[in-house]
Symmetry: C2
Subunit: 175 residues, 2 copies
């Protein structure tokens, strides 16, 4: 059975949507996910500068508890478990509070994936799998299997990887 | 640079020593680490039965905070980092409270290993490394590199792996 490693933030969870809401609250702004997914390079640059200056909320308790689930993720991942061994691999050890929150989130939304198949790490280059679905080039570049880049505002300029824009895309590629 | 994956409980930390102390407190017993490291099979059997009936403390906050560090672990692992890429890989996602406690423990005792190189997981068979130092056969049996069995009361009967009895043993094998 082939193995798929799946990232959490911005692949299973709409983390950027909550980040945008939080940044809008903190800085009294009106950024939207749709605008950040456009080709407005200047807007993105400004947003990520503001984000880097104001992202201490990532280390606060509670941020990862109520992340929205990506559209189609539950259904497609449930289908994938019938044909693949699934590991959820989240670069989360930078955020100690997030770890138990992410376990709870998984139990709530993906109860068919147990703690046995959840991995929290920093680097991902020691993960052995056939596929890695991830939104960050830094994780895909060292991966020894087939990398799939899950589209997110911060990776739209990257052309070096096979891209998936949605869980329906993942379904048609892997099932 | 070759990669070593190192287990935490009963390899870097004297987890069984704290378990024995806790079981002794709960059941008013006088088990010792030395006795469990002997060939007294009957004593071990009784101890592990009592342990399985009384191990809910593993899920309680605080248990993993103050584990003693294995003799020689800090010095030898620090030396290993000069010649190897080190990953600490702990099967800890079964114990949600342990995750942030284990990160704190690492920061306190092994500050030279950062969150980038700490992995919390359930199964370990998707970890790619040249060596795995672990006390559990279930982790070594699926490992694709060279497994090293770190001696602990529960594994003294296993003869299928190269064994290390201490961190000095690890040092003479790997350095």
């Amino acid at each position: 059975m082939k193995r798929i490693a799946i990232d959490m933030d911005d692949v299973m969870a709409d983390t950027t949507i909550k980040i945008i809401q939080t940044i809008n609250n903190i800085t009294n702004s009106t950024y939207t996910y749709e605008a950040l997914m456009s080709n407005d390079i200047k807007l993105k640059k400004t947003f990520y500068e503001v984000y880097l200056e104001n992202n201490s909320f990532l280390w606060q308790p509670g941020f990862f508890t109520d992340l929205p689930v990506k559209e189609g993720a539950i259904e497609v991942i449930k289908d994938l478990t019938k044909s693949y061994e699934i590991f959820v691999v989240s670069a989360a050890t930078e955020f100690p509070n997030s770890l138990s929150e992410k376990l709870e989130w998984m139990k709530k939304h993906f109860p068919f994936i147990t703690w046995h198949n959840i991995v929290f790490c920093g680097h991902k280059h020691m993960i052995q799998a056939d596929y890695l679905i991830d939104d960050h080039e830094r994780n895909l570049v060292t991966f020894t299997g087939t990398p799939l880049l899950f589209s997110a505002p911060h990776n739209l300029h990257i052309n070096s990887y096979e891209r998936v824009n949605s869980w329906l895309d993942v379904k048609s590629k892997l099932l």
